[in-house]
Amino acid sequence: MFNFFNYFIAVYLIVFGSVIFWFGYQYILELKLLKTQSINHNKEMG
């Protein structure tokens, strides 16, 4: 029984861990892109 429980925990950690990691990665990417966009905009404005 304990063994089966380990497999269950492993699956839930992998699935939800991947989803959280994905959101974190997208969020960092978004922040970087917004920063670049703001720098470009400021350059244009002089």
């Binding site: 029984m1 063994n3 089966f4 429980f5 497999y7 269950f8 492993a10 699956v11 839930y12 992998i14 699935v15 939800f16 991947s18 989803v19 994905w22 959101f23 997208q26 990417l29 978004e30 892109l33 917004l34 670049t36 966009q37 470009n40």
Partner: protein, 223 residues
């Protein structure tokens, strides 16, 4: 473009997804019946099958986006296709990882070359090819057309995966062939709840990824 979660609808969907995911895990742990031979291992099914559903749904959207790209010749549909292909591949990877974790205690070995597993692996490899083609395919406009075509063709593998359990001889099948309708009510209800929550999660992920791709294109084309 304003930050994605500054939009009230997006932040509301995020809140709902987090709330329902916790509720779903609680429901799976405390309210679903233990299946005699599998115990906790059976509860893997509540995330494994919805992950597969989301993966296939995502590839269906890649196909629709491909068709729409050819009809409208609009970059938006190329972005939708790319976003859906990425998220679909993440979920199919999760299916290919969690499946063997379930199979190890139940079948005694993580992988068997039986029809459903093999056709799912083929689908995953087709999409690895899809991303390689997107990266090394040459001219950007040509790559978009190739990607749309490949997205349409690749979806042909999905119905094959679904019928593979009936299509090939039962001797070479190791997959559970029990119909969902024959499952005890506690299992079916929790499974459908999990399926709905994963679909909501998928909608949020797709919206977010499309937004990030559009933002990236905007920044790249500006430089």
């Amino acid at each position: 473009m304003q930050p994605f979660f500054k939009n009230r609808t997006n932040s509301l969907i995020l809140f709902l997804v987090i709330f329902f995911l916790f509720l779903n895990i609680y429901n799976i742990i405390y309210n679903t019946p233990m299946v005699p031979d599998q115990h906790w291992a059976q509860k893997i099914f509540y995330v494994h099958v919805p992950s597969a559903w989301v993966g296939f749904l995502s590839y269906f959207i890649v196909m629709i986006a491909g068709i729409m790209f050819f009809i409208k010749n609009n970059n938006f549909w190329d972005n939708v296709g790319l976003a859906a292909a990425e998220i679909g591949t993440i979920f199919i990877s999760l299916v290919l990882i969690t499946g063997p974790i379930w199979a190890t205690p139940i079948w005694g070995k993580p992988w068997i070359w039986e029809p459903r597993l093999t056709t799912t692996l083929i689908l995953f490899l087709i999409y690895i090819g899809y991303f390689m083609m997107r990266s090394f395919g040459g001219h950007a406009e040509r790559v978009k057309r190739y990607a749309a075509s490949l997205g349409i063709i690749a979806f042909l593998d999905v119905p094959i995966i679904f019928v593979s359990v009936q299509f090939w001889a039962p001797e070479i099948q190791s997959h559970p062939q029990v119909e969902m309708a024959n499952q005890p009510p506690g299992i079916l209800g929790a499974f459908l709840i999990s399926l709905s929550i994963f679909t909501l999660l998928y909608i949020l992920m797709l919206k977010y990824r499309i937004y990030v791709i559009q933002l990236k294109n905007k920044v790249i084309h500006h430089v």
